[in-house]
């Protein structure tokens, strides 16, 4: 759980941003907290806020599309935890969030128990942040809520450096970043991410030297 400490402020702020946004579109604070407690995905929840009046099928499709970034993360778990059985890996994949994956990929935690520990630390922070934002939205400075994604981006930047242990990985990371930036010119980030990550890894595997 200690590995999670640096990312908790960002998660708390991002949760507060979601809680404030949920109340602004008409959800009761208890509803916003319920959504965070059950769905536990900021991006999918934020997307759902703009689709509240749509049929469940549209909300499900939106949720899948914005969660596609978890596909390469779930696949990568097999490489990161080679001796862990399939169904245990499935359970751990359900505990994945962007920040959890970043910590695991950077090598800060490498055991199933430690990964579960990161979830144990993040989950209450996310739910508490939502409650804070939903109840205290009028009192919280808008600039603080707007900065939440920036806090998390800085953490990811440090962790990607830690994850690159050799030249090939550094090259693949640079390619992944360039690919995501290029793809985002035409696609939303949530689609650009898995496409860029998979293509960059495939190129990295194909290059012999």
């Amino acid at each position: 759980m200690a590995a999670t400490l640096p990312i908790l402020p960002g998660i708390l702020a991002w949760g507060a941003a979601f809680g404030a946004a949920a109340v602004a579109v008409g959800l009761r604070p208890a509803g916003a907290v319920t959504m965070s407690a059950v769905a536990w995905s900021g991006t999918a929840q934020a997307a759902a806020l703009s689709l509240l009046s749509q049929p469940p099928g549209a909300i499900f499709l939106s949720s899948v599309l914005v969660s596609l970034r978890f596909v390469p993360m779930g696949l990568a778990l097999a490489g990161l935890l080679p001796s862990t059985g399939r169904w245990r890996r499935v359970l751990l994949a359900c505990c994945l969030a962007d920040a959890t994956f970043a910590i695991v990929a950077a090598g800060r935690v490498r055991t199933p128990a430690a990964i579960f520990g990161t979830w144990l630390a993040q989950y209450p922070a996310w739910v508490a942040g939502t409650a804070l934002g939903a109840l205290g939205a009028p009192l919280l400075p808008a600039r603080l809520l707007g900065a939440s994604e920036g806090l998390v981006a800085v953490i990811f930047a440090v962790l990607v450096v830690e994850a690159c242990t050799d030249r090939r990985q550094a090259g693949v990371a640079a390619l992944g970043a360039a690919g995501a930036a290029t793809a985002m010119l035409a696609l939303p980030g949530t689609l650009a991410l898995p496409i860029a990550a998979v293509l960059a890894s495939a190129v990295g595997m194909a290059v012999r030297r």
Binding site: A46, L61, V71, A76, A78, A93, A197
Partner: protein, 104 residues
Amino acid sequence: MSTAHLLVVTATVAAGVLLCKALPAALLGARLDPRLARFLGLLPAATLAALVVVSTAGAGSGRLRWEVLAAVVVAAALAAATRHGLLAMLSGWAVLAAELLLLG
């Protein structure tokens, strides 16, 4: 919004998220082909780097946030130069805080 509607929305969102999280892990067996294992070994760095770009741009904003980019560059450069993660994170956050205070 009724409680029943909220519960349906919440369950639907959770189902979409869990499908994307669990399915890839469920499809891969315990013994991996060496080529697949090599590919999966490269995937974390590529995914993380793409995640940095997406979170720097901001979900759905569609524009580059220069203030976040500056903080990200400072943090990454310090992490690479010093290999001291916490110092790099704190420096990046300090850049972000300074920009918020000075630029609004």
